[in-house]
């Protein structure tokens, strides 16, 4: 039983990380209708830049983080200016393919700037089991994972407040509802997009730091985007609670499946199990758990 709980908790905690990446997607999708395939590349870019600042320029972590944030904001602004602005009013699928191109570009750029070797990233949180849980319940839960989940929770709360209580948040929701109507009442569309992409860049940085500290900062970080996709399908593309719940479901079920079904079929099913789960779910409810009902007209 304690083993089951351990796997479940481990899965839920890694699900929080998936959710964090998925939120980056949701932010951009809500505000601009762009399905940003490059989010994984942005996570990689952010983590690599931060580590590069520390390794190459000898910055401390606390200096490197704000500098990287500034870099991510600049990147967000550049993407808005160069890629998105000329593609306004194009079909969603064109925008999606453009972000695939963007993902390749950012991956190449990151490695060109900082090299392609694996970097170690030390955050001041230790990756050891929490003593209390281990002593009393014999469950091994990493302190690092719990702290990471806490940071994610903080970030999500901050974002939720930003979006529900501030002027920018209100403007953003208006843009998400209808670009043209928002423009007509005087909301500056391009500014809103720039804000959103910058925020998504910062979320990518947080995700990149947490994942990078766990697994090393390496190219594999870009595959996080592929992990976040089933989360989005499950939760719905437009809902932040959906991304969180979807992340938890995917994280937990993936680990449980790997542990309990994996040995029967040769292991390694983590790669596709979330997709199949999400697909089966889609067949029942095509808009995801919390997605908006899709109404289609001719």
């Amino acid at each position: 039983m304690s083993f089951f709980l351990e796997v479940l908790i481990g899965g839920l905690l890694s699900g929080v990380m998936y959710a964090l990446v998925a939120i980056g997607f949701v932010l951009i999708y809500k505000a601009s209708g762009v399905f940003n395939f490059a989010q994984g590349a942005m996570v990689f870019f952010a983590a690599l830049t931060c580590v590069g600042m520390i390794d190459k320029f000898g910055m401390s972590l606390w200096l490197a983080i704000p500098v990287t944030m500034a870099v991510m904001v600049v990147l967000g602004l550049a993407i808005e200016r160069v890629v998105l602005r000329p593609l306004v009013n194009q079909p969603e699928i064109t925008l999606f393919m453009a972000t695939i191109g963007l993902a390749f570009f950012i991956e190449g750029l990151a490695q060109l700037m900082w090299g392609s070797q694996v970097h170690k990233l030390d955050l001041p949180i230790e990756d050891v089991p929490i003593p209390y849980l281990m002593d009393n319940y014999n469950i091994i839960v990493s302190q690092f994972d719990v702290t990471a989940a806490g940071i994610c929770a903080l970030l999500v709360t901050a974002l939720a407040l930003l979006f529900s209580r501030t002027r920018i948040g209100r403007a953003l929701r208006a843009v998400a509802d209808d670009h043209q109507a928002a423009q007509a009442v005087g909301i500056p569309l391009q500014q809103i997009w720039a804000v959103v992409w910058s925020v998504a860049g910062m979320v990518a940085l947080v995700a990149g730091l947490l994942w990078g500290a766990r697994n090393g900062v390496q190219f594999a970080l870009t595959f996080i985007a592929l992990k976040a996709l089933p989360v989005l399908i499950l939760g719905g593309f437009t809902s932040i609670p959906g991304a969180i719940v979807g992340g938890l479901i995917i994280g937990a079920s993936e680990k449980l499946a790997e542990v309990y079904i994996g040995p029967m079929v040769g292991g390694g099913i983590e790669g596709w199990f979330p997709y199949v789960l999400a697909l089966l779910f889609l067949l029942v409810r095509p808009e995801g758990l919390f997605g908006e009902k899709i109404i289609r007209r001719i």
């Binding site: 999606f96 060109l112 399908i233 292991g267 390694g268 596709w272 199949v276 999400a278 697909l279």
Partner: protein, 352 residues
Amino acid sequence: MFYREAGQFKTTYESDNQIFPIRQDRYAMLAVLALALLVVPLFASPYMLSAILIPFLIFSLAALGLNILTGYAGQLSLGTAAFMAVGAFASFNFVARVPGMPMLLAFVLGGLSAALVGIAFGLPSLRIRGFYLAAATLATQFFVVWCLTKIPYLTNYSTSGVITAQKIVILGYVFDTPATKYLLVLAIVSLMALLAKNMVRSNVGRSWMAIRDMDMAAEVIGFRPMRTKLLAFAVSSFYCGVAGALYAYAYLGTVEPEAYNLDLSFRILFMIIIGGVGSILGSFLGAAFIVLLPVFLNIVAHGLSLPTSVASNLELMVFGALIIFFLIVEPHGLARLWQIGKEKLRLWPFPH
């Protein structure tokens, strides 16, 4: 001036409906085919044949497959490499397990197996669309490659998972030199391209395009979406399957799951974006572009004596930038540029 169809009268339906209604196109196509069939095998070096022309033709075929699905039927797919893998492994198994299996039949059967898998994974397209579907096709990609690595039966219990492809023997003739392999691939690709061209300008192609342009409206006026979409998945996967088999047999010489990774899927997607979505010619142009670009960049990097890691990263960046560039500036790709060029040539040198 070079491209004037004045004086070419069509007096029968047949002549009006042919693939190349303009005489210049017809002759140009014949000249290209003659060049590819007769001159190239004589004069091209083995490197040219096996490192550039053969992959170019094979990728063209795969791009053709994806273009049928994405360009004509409007179903975005990121699982092209998976269908190629199914084609390659199915062909391998048919040859390995059925005694006296003719090679060409094995390719066809490989393509048909890919078509079956394509239909199975195309089923979600009936309920979901757009990038939900793109994400679903990623499932194909991961699942198929996982199956091929984990199920030993499919790799004929090879210990390393990497298998040498059998020799291509057709009617007792062994295709083992680059030139003969090239001719075989050329023949198959030309034939299938001709088929595809005819398919997309017939009933079938029109129904695909109707579904692509507005699926609900198409449904209302009587196209059956289920049949049309699944047919598109089947035909597209068939093309990709045959391309995958050729990729293993005529290009790599090995059959291994890792050769059919997500990266290959993306590269083929890039081919159709750069070449032209919804164009047969575009599949060929895009494949040529994507095959030649790394070669070109390597020469440039070599000339500037850049290290290889820089060159490979530059390649990623150039690929990405080109995709964005084409989507913004010319969403119909190289094929559209060619068309514009033809229109210009028609009036040249007096543009009024």
